[in-house]
């Protein structure tokens, strides 16, 4: 029940707004739907908070093996935050409907706002840390679109990109932290983790991984620069995202993990200095802004710093102060942003240099701004006064260094806060208009004043109702954050009597107010400030892109030899230790015929590097292949030797054919340095590979696997050539796939060559007869195919028991086919060759399927013996399979050859009957 209700309350705003947007309703109606959804969410969360149930509820297991689930954590603090998010969401969406009016882009913006509300609700309520991370990222992504919603404004896009890059870069370590916590503790549920006692180093590692996310998301120095830039978003968006919700996510995460990680020394050591710096710097920058919206943005930076600092103090009372200030700030800052939107509408400008005397035009707005800004400055009896009082009391409590840092930062930060608050109210609403505002802006309807009015009323009500707030809100929420009731704590109140905190408060307010009234706007810079984090970030981003372009220009822009060489060099470095070890070991003396083969191989390869003529080079390389075939023989692998020999013959013929008529390229010799580099790499690679082989050692053939095959081959497959049996029976699926690859490659060659040459107007291919060829060779060629056919059939049939088999037979047949093509210049029939290949492929596929009809797994073969002519004739269906291989290989290769063949102008046989290559 409660899990469904929670899911509903998370989804309601986005679903309702999404339905409205899909139905293409105007923005006003979409916003109304979203408001209804938000109110439903807020009241559901409040109802759940009133129920006694506390704890996690699981909606669905998602990836149980990875501990990922969709689950909600129903605690007082999560529900209170959900109420806050949904309530302010409702107010902002109501305001947005009035603010955007009938603008065309507004529907998308409103829908995105509702989606953002849903992701924020998911973030505060998620129990599973992975789900929390997902919602965390979702808020960032939605905010990217919201900040950049002004399509025509490139600086808005740049700001959106900054925000997204900074916050998601911070979130990546958090994901690692989540994985770390989950794998160490075998649970990703926050509730379950909070019940555990973590070891000190686990706490520190997890916290170190979480802190970047907190610091970037909550705009802490030095990663705060995205937040003022995000003011490119429309005002309702800023009011929601950049005051009340998203920027609070970091602080909220800190509160959530406080009982888990708060004991780590890193907690105070990082959070207090970072928060103090942010608090003071934000205040200082706010004083230098003339745009009131940017003033509010910097003020938010400063207040977030204050929150981080307070949480960083790490005591339970500090947490209590932070909780109160978190809510108080969300209320007054959302209200202030909405007020800024109202000022913009009413006066048509947001610049302090133009504004003034606005109270005459909109007295209600003035009153609201005064209350909300007063709360920000900490004037009694407003909410901000209460929370700041708590913070001051806490910060002055002890005399550790952190408290000295904290109290100094709070003192100066708060003086700034008072000063810019008073500047905001006085310069905008009081005095005289600085420039002619007549005819600009318009009156404000009640719809635009409603939301700030409600927020101002809230901030007003807290002071008089302090004891009620303490009993029903602050005490239970704090207890649920720290995991136990706070004992013996002074109840929240407006008046604690005269004490140090009160005196400090008085000093802050009076110094701040006076300093602002005395200096006025005289110190305000008119241009943009020179030292800007945004510009720094943008130039860093540009530089990284330039660096990337340059790097890829070096690594991947040039010829393949460059990046192949680099990759190879890197691999070689890794191979050095293994190679050294292998070469240092002892080796047995090699056998003489092996050494002779090596000598032949070396001579042939050296010659291949030397010769200029390409045909000679092809022949030498194939001679190397023959040497390898002989090595196969020495390794007792007759099947491999046969196959290798035929493959070499075939490839050589193929090469020779395709070189005909090609222009001989002027082989550019590389420059000296590059050439030596290449040689060094080549030799290094060779030595590394050779020492790898040496490291394998003179091992005996392993008996484990081959014993199985040696027993199984004769008994199960009725074959004596184990290699062939493996190919046609045990691992027949491999063979099938491989044969299909051969067919595809061969047909691919045919298509590649023919497709291109057909498009060129060409002379029709000349046949040998047309060229007037005569002689012995063409006559003999008529015999080649039938003879080769006999050889192939014998290889095929013997293959099961002796060296041979489908591949070898297919290769022999295709060599014959090539020869007859060349010699007889038979140019027709490449179609029939590919037909043969396809028949072969079909036979293979049929033999795969056929066994299914006998209830056997694919490619099961049958065996038997036929009594005929008084003798027993073994038969087996593996032969049929091998026949498929023969046809596929021979047909494919023949088709490729015939496609290549007519491509040269002029015949291939000259008058003497010799083949012209």
């Amino acid at each position: 029940m409660s899990e469904l209700l929670t899911t509903f309350l998370v989804a309601a705003p986005a679903v309702l707004a999404g339905l409205g947007a899909l139905a293409r309703r105007p923005a006003r109606e979409v916003a109304a739907l979203a408001v209804a959804g938000s109110l439903a969410s807020a009241s559901s969360a409040a109802w759940l908070a009133s129920q006694p149930f506390r704890g996690p509820v699981v909606v669905a297991e998602w990836l149980p093996a990875l501990l990922v689930s969709v689950s909600w954590r129903l605690e007082t603090v999560t529900l209170a935050l959900a109420v806050l998010v949904a309530t302010i969401g409702a107010l902002v969406l109501q305001y947005a409907a009035a603010y955007f009016g009938e603008s065309r882009a507004a529907r998308g913006t409103v829908t995105l706002l509702a989606l953002f509300e849903t992701s924020m609700l998911g973030l505060v309520l998620a129990d599973n840390l992975y789900a929390l991370f997902l919602f965390w990222e979702l808020t960032g992504i939605v905010s990217f679109f919201l900040i950049g919603s002004d399509r025509g404004n490139p600086s808005a896009f740049a700001a959106a990109r900054r925000a997204l890059l900074i916050t998601s870069a911070g979130a990546l370590p958090m994901l690692v932290g989540v994985i770390y916590l989950a794998s160490v503790n075998q649970t990703a549920s926050l509730s379950a983790l909070l019940d555990l006692e973590l070891a000190a180093e686990v706490q520190t590692i997890a916290l170190a991984l979480f802190l970047p996310a907190v610091i970037t998301k909550s705009a802490q120095a030095p990663f705060h620069s995205w937040l003022p830039g995000a003011m490119a978003a429309p005002t309702p968006v800023s009011a929601y995202l950049h005051s009340a919700t998203m920027v609070k996510a970091g602080v909220i995460l800190l509160l959530y993990v406080y009982p888990l990680l708060g004991d780590s020394p890193l907690w105070t050591a990082v959070l207090v200095p970072v928060g103090a710096m942010t608090c003071v710097w934000g205040s200082y920058r706010a004083l230098g802004e003339s745009d009131v919206k940017l003033l509010m943005a910097w003020s938010t930076v400063s207040q977030l710093g204050l929150l981080t600092l307070t949480i960083g103090l790490g005591t339970e009372l500090a947490i209590r102060a932070a909780v109160l200030h978190l809510f108080a700030h969300a209320v007054f800052k959302a209200g202030l942003f909405l007020t800024v939107g109202g000022i913009d509408k009413a006066a048509g400008t947001r610049s302090l240099f133009d504004l003034g005397g606005l109270w005459r035009r909109t007295p209600v707005l003035f009153a609201l701004a005064a209350v909300l800004a007063g709360s920000m400055a900490g004037i009694p009896p407003l909410a901000g006064f209460l929370s700041k009082e708590l913070i001051l009391k806490k910060a002055m409590l002890t005399d550790l260094w952190v408290h000295a840092v904290a109290i100094t930062a709070i003192f100066f930060g708060s003086i700034g806060t008072v000063a810019y608050s008073s500047r905001f109210v006085c310069e905008v609403f009081l005095g005289r208009p600085r420039s002619d505002l007549e005819g600009r802006g318009k009156g404000l309807g009640p719809a635009i004043l409603l939301a700030p009015a409600i927020l101002a009323a809230l901030t007003l009500a807290v002071g008089p109702g302090a004891s009620w707030v303490d009993r029903w809100f602050l005490e239970p929420v704090t207890a649920s954050v720290i995991g136990r009731m706070l004992p013996e704590v002074t109840p929240l109140s407006l008046w604690y009597g005269v004490n140090a905190a009160l005196l400090l408060s008085v000093a802050i307010v009076s110094v701040g107010y006076l300093s602002d009234r005395i200096t006025g706007l005289r110190m305000l810079p008119r241009g943009p400030s020179a030292l800007s984090g945004e510009r720094l970030f943008d130039s860093a981003l540009d530089a990284s892109q330039r660096l990337g372009a340059r790097l890829s220009g070096v690594l991947a822009g040039g010829p393949p030899s460059v990046y192949l060489g680099l990759a190879l060099a890197a691999g070689l470095l890794a191979a050095v230790p293994a190679a050294v070890e292998a070469l240092a070991g002892e080796v047995a003396a090699p056998q003489p015929e092996g050494l002779v083969t090596i000598l032949v191989l070396a001579a042939v390869l050296a010659a291949a590097l030397r010769v200029r003529d390409r045909l000679a080079r092809v022949l030498l390389i194939s001679a190397a292949g023959f040497a390898v075939a002989f090595l196969y023989r020495l390794m007792n692998a007759p099947d491999l030797m046969l196959t290798q020999l035929l493959v070499e013959v075939l490839v050589t013929i193929f090469f020779a054919l395709s070189l005909r008529g090609l222009p001989a390229p002027a082989e550019r010799r590389p420059r000296g340095g590059a050439r030596w580099m290449r040689r060094a790499l080549a030799i290094g690679a060779g030595v590394a590979a050779g020492s790898l082989v040496l490291a394998l050692g003179d091992t005996e053939a392993s008996t484990h696997v081959q014993d199985f095959y040696r027993v199984a081959a004769p008994e199960l497959a009725k074959g004596l050539n184990v290699v062939n049996v493996i190919l046609t029976d045990f691992r027949a699926l491999d063979t099938l796939m491989e044969t299909l690859v051969v067919v595809l490659a061969a047909l691919g060659v045919a298509g590649l060559v023919r497709g291109r040459e057909r498009s060129r107007a060409r002379k029709p291919p000349q046949t040998a007869e047309a060229a007037g060829t005569s002689g012995l060779l063409p006559g003999m060629s008529r015999l080649i195919l039938p003879l080769a056919g006999i050889v192939a059939v014998s290889l095929l049939i013997k293959g099961h028991d002796e060296p041979g088999g489908g591949f070898v037979a297919g290769l022999a047949l295709s060599i014959a086919a090539i020869l007859s093509t060349v010699v007889a210049a038979r140019t027709r029939g490449s179609g029939s060759a590919s037909g043969v290949a396809l028949v072969g492929a079909v036979i293979l596929l049929l033999s795969l399927v056929a066994s299914f009809f006998f209830g056997q797994p694919g490619l099961t073969h049958a065996h038997g013996e036929l009594r005929l002519f008084g003798a027993g004739w073994k038969w087996h269906t593996a032969l049929l399979f091998d026949l498929g291989v023969v046809l596929a290989v021979a047909g494919g290769v023949a088709a490729a050859t015939r496609a290549l063949w007519p491509s040269s102008p002029g015949g291939a046989i000259d008058r003497g009957g010799r083949v012209r290559l």
Binding site: P559, S561, L564, G565, L568, A588, P590, G594, L595, T597, I598, L605, L609, I621, L631, Y632, L634, M635, N636, A637, P638, L640, V647, F654, S658, L662, P665, R668, P670, R679, L681, A682, I683, A685, G686, V687, A688, A689, S691, V693, L694, D698, T699, A701, R710, A713, I726, L727, D734, E738, V742, A745, V749, A750, V753, R756, R760, D801, V893, L900
Partner: protein, 130 residues
């Protein structure tokens, strides 16, 4: 035997890499086929060396033989690398044609009397038709 194999692999890899790192597709194809030989020999070497071919006697007497499984795998590899080589040769052919046909059209002044084919840029120079 392992020393022989190690030497063969050393030679094949060294020359294969030397050919592969050149700028021409033609040399690269030759280099690749040498590297394929080397890889096949490594697989066989990993299977160990046996005293006889893995072909059983008809009467069922079974002596120790070489391991048939690496041989079957290498046989597959030989055929596959052949298919790849054939396809690369087809590419070489197709590319050469393209280059020749491109070079024919706007022959720069002074090159007019050269064979069109000779104008074709070196095969395999990446993107190098001009």
């Amino acid at each position: 035997m392992i020393v022989v194999l190690a030497l063969a692999v050393t030679l094949l890899v060294a020359v294969g890499v030397e050919l592969l790192l050149g700028r021409s597709l033609f040399r690269a194809i030759l280099g690749l086929s040498l590297l394929a030989h080397a890889a096949n020999l490594v697989v066989l070497a990993a299977g160990g060396v046996g005293p006889a071919a893995p072909i059983l006697a008809r009467d069922g007497v079974r002596g120790q033989t070489a391991d048939p499984l690496p041989q079957a795998l290498v046989l597959t590899a030989i055929v596959i690398s052949m298919a790849v080589t054939l396809y690369l040769i087809g590419l070489l052919r197709a590319k050469a044609r393209d280059l020749a046909s491109v070079a024919v059209e706007p022959a720069p002044a002074g090159d007019g009397d050269r064979e069109p084919a000779a104008v074709a840029v070196e095969l395999g120079a990446p993107g190098g038709s001009r």
